[in-house]
Amino acid sequence: MKKDIILAGVGGQGILSIATVIGSAALEQGLYLKQAEVHGMSQRGGDVQSNLRLSSAPIYSDLIPKGGADLIVSLEPMEALRYVPYLAPDGWIITNTTPLVNIPDYPPMDRVLEALNGFPQVLAMDVDGMAKDLGSPRGANMVLLGAMSAVLHILEPEKLREGIRRVFGRKGEAVVASNIKAFDAGLAHFQNR
């Protein structure tokens, strides 16, 4: 089995913490993994993405081909759309709906949502709002991770919860608990959609 994922967002939003949790779970499960990151100038408020590839067999390329991604997971709605040429025809888009507007020509939100809803498999959700309601505004990433875990398949949700415990363990039990709560809320949101 293999899963190719594009993680998208804006520099500073922290898409890499999602990758770190998945990476920890994948390593524990003995999966092969490649994860290409963006560092340097692009991190300064520009568009950023990470190509994350998981497989039970060895992986060659660090980059996902166009039309090859099983999932686009984005912390920002327009950024999800930036990578649709990479989405496989039956792939999923799981995205936040809260826009990050740091450019003068950000398109109208209704056009962004309309474009997103034109794809066959989309879950667009207010990740920021959900994280705030849970009392952990910094848990938006984990809400998104929870939602995508419903279609990840190559790693079961429980393995990802274990990944959260390993990655955030040294920050204390409270941080772990709030991240797991955020994760579970995301997963439930997908299941009840």
């Binding site: 300064r44 520009g46 081909p65």
Partner: protein
């Protein structure tokens, strides 16, 4: 003990060096190389073995210090981004003449597609230029192994090894299994051959002839290297030469194995004998290499006219930019996967200076003053503040390479430009700006140097900056008049004061320095979180 870790290519190189018995890393930060040194700085073995790991002022000082460590018999690592190799080119070329005593590995990280760079130069050219072997691993596991092998090779052949990574290797993570043995560090011991370390012409001529002979040996080593291989294929209608990570993009497109014969190249000088063997099998050779067409250029014209060479130069692969699985797929004549068209609604989102960044306030004040000076030209430099060229600031007229701001301003000022303003960051100033300031003082140039000091090397993620706390003292020591070294704090409430100072120093017809100092908000946040 053998362990599996998720490591960036940069980190795999760092771990390989530590396990090879490293005694010191010397580096200047630069994307995509920075994480090599940061990994070594954080590794427990570094403290345990007292491995040198402080940042150097620039790539030249780094290269020279590492060469000194090699002279003293210990294993050293130098790291920088590709353009850093230009900064240290004199020392680098010289190190081929001196050769290596303790193992010396020079890691140069190229950035094809210029994700965070000003050009796409391919470090492999420097390898053949200096007659030095080049190692170019194809994946993270091989990076770990090849780094260890590079140290042994460097000592065996008495030559530094240039390790070339590219962005997608440097900044991509994969599972890396390390070796079980961690080699001891070398003890202090000096070279047996002493003359080549004094590069007077009388010695250098002798050494040059030796090096020419050695280079033929390096090529023979590459022909027999375990990191290079020629594999058979079922279909000889095409032969493929895949260099470095191009091998991955090739294999990605053939999950059940490549039907064509493949020459995988990770160790240079280019093993021409293996290419000749490949050419006996096929009449068409496709060359895939990340970066510039180094191998392809050299193969054209080498073979009889019946053999067709395909690659970047004839358009089979794109002439510039990094390779991708899609570009390689197209070159192999495979159809593109079904895909959605790009979404029209998406707007570009270029990088920008952070909200609250001191560079923003500096540019705002500078622009307000320069509105009144029609002839003003602003010479920029390399760092986050280069983003001041972009809207809304549009403050800069030039940016070329590290340190060029003040020196270009001098040439322009002498030609009649007034006011000639240079903008440089604190780390870039101590990297390559100080000697230019000495020129300005000696030449009594009519220039205004603005040092936008955020107390760190910001663009690469907040590494130490070599001159922190001493910028004014350095300028005074170089000879700038004390009354024309001014310090301002870039904040909106200070705009009137800032503008007054800038105006006064523009009106002074000599060398002025305005130090514009406020901590980078990224490092400020990190420091606050630590407390």
């Amino acid at each position: 003990m053998a362990q599996k870790n998720l490591l960036l290519g940069d980190e795999a190189l760092a771990l390989g060096a530590l396990h090879a018995g490293l005694s010191g890393v010397y580096a200047y930060p630069g994307t995509p190389s920075t994480e090599i040194t940061e990994y070594i700085q954080a590794h427990p073995l570094t403290a345990e073995r007292k491995v040198h790991c402080d940042w150097s002022s620039n790539e030249k000082t780094a290269m020279e210090a590492a060469l000194g460590m090699s002279y003293a018999g210990k294993r050293a690592l130098v790291c920088f981004k590709h353009v850093g190799l230009n900064v240290c080119a004199d020392a680098f070329m010289g190190s081929a003449t001196t050769g290596a005593n303790g193992g010396l590995v020079i890691a140069s990280c190229d950035d094809p597609s210029m994700h965070s760079s000003q050009n796409e130069q391919d470090s492999r050219f420097y390898g053949s230029f200096a007659m030095m072997p080049v190692f170019e691993p194809s994946n993270q596991q091989e990076t770990y192994q090849m780094t260890r092998a590079a140290y042994d090779y460097s000592e065996k052949r008495g030559i530094p090894v240039l390790m070339r990574l590219t962005t997608r290797m440097a900044h991509s993570r994969a599972v890396v299994e390390n070796g079980e043995d961690i080699r001891e560090q070398n003890s202090l011991h000096y070279p047996e051959k002493t003359r080549q370390w004094v590069t007077l012409p009388v010695n250098a001529r002798i050494r040059n002839r030796e090096l020419i002979k050695d280079y033929a040996q390096f090529e023979d080593d590459a022909v027999h290297s375990p990191f290079n291989s020629l594999t058979e294929g079922k279909d000889n209608g095409l032969g493929i030469i895949a260099c470095g990570i191009a091998y991955n993009y090739l294999m990605e497109n053939y999950p059940d194995g490549c039907p064509y014969p493949v020459l995988k190249v990770s160790q240079y000088p280019f093993p021409k004998e293996l290419a000749r063997q490949l050419a006996t099998k096929t009449g068409r050779i496709l060359v895939m290499e990340e970066g510039q067409a180094l191998v392809e250029e050299r193969l054209r014209g080498v073979f009889p006219s019946g053999i067709q060479i395909l690659g970047r130069l004839d358009g089979t692969l794109p002439r510039d930019g990094e390779l991708t699985p899609d570009a390689v797929r197209c070159a192999l004549g495979l159809p593109a996967l079904p895909q959605y068209p790009a979404a029209e609604v998406v707007a570009p989102r270029p990088p920008a200076l952070c909200q609250g960044c001191g560079h923003r306030d500096f540019y705002t004040a500078l622009n307000n003053v320069l509105k009144d000076y029609e002839g003003a030209r602003v010479f920029g430099d390399i760092g986050c503040y280069t983003l001041g060229w972009m809207p809304p600031f549009k403050s800069l007229h030039t940016c070329v390479e590290m340190g060029a701001s003040l020196t270009m301003a001098q040439g322009a000022a002498y030609s009649g430009t007034w006011p000639a303003v240079a903008v440089i960051g604190d780390s870039t100033f101590t990297h390559s700006g100080m000697t230019g300031l000495l020129d300005a003082v000696n030449g009594k140039a009519d220039v205004t140097l603005c040092i936008s000091d955020n107390l760190t090397t910001g663009m690469t993620g907040g590494q130490d900056s070599a001159g922190t706390g001493r910028i004014e003292a350095i300028c005074e020591g170089i000879g700038v008049e004390k009354e024309h070294i001014r310090t301002i704090v870039p904040l909106p409430k200070n705009y009137p004061d800032m503008e007054k100072v800038i105006r006064e120093e523009l009106e002074y017809h000599g060398v002025s320095v305005i130090v514009c100092r406020r901590e980078c908000i990224q490092t400020l946040r990190r420091h606050a979180a630590k407390k």
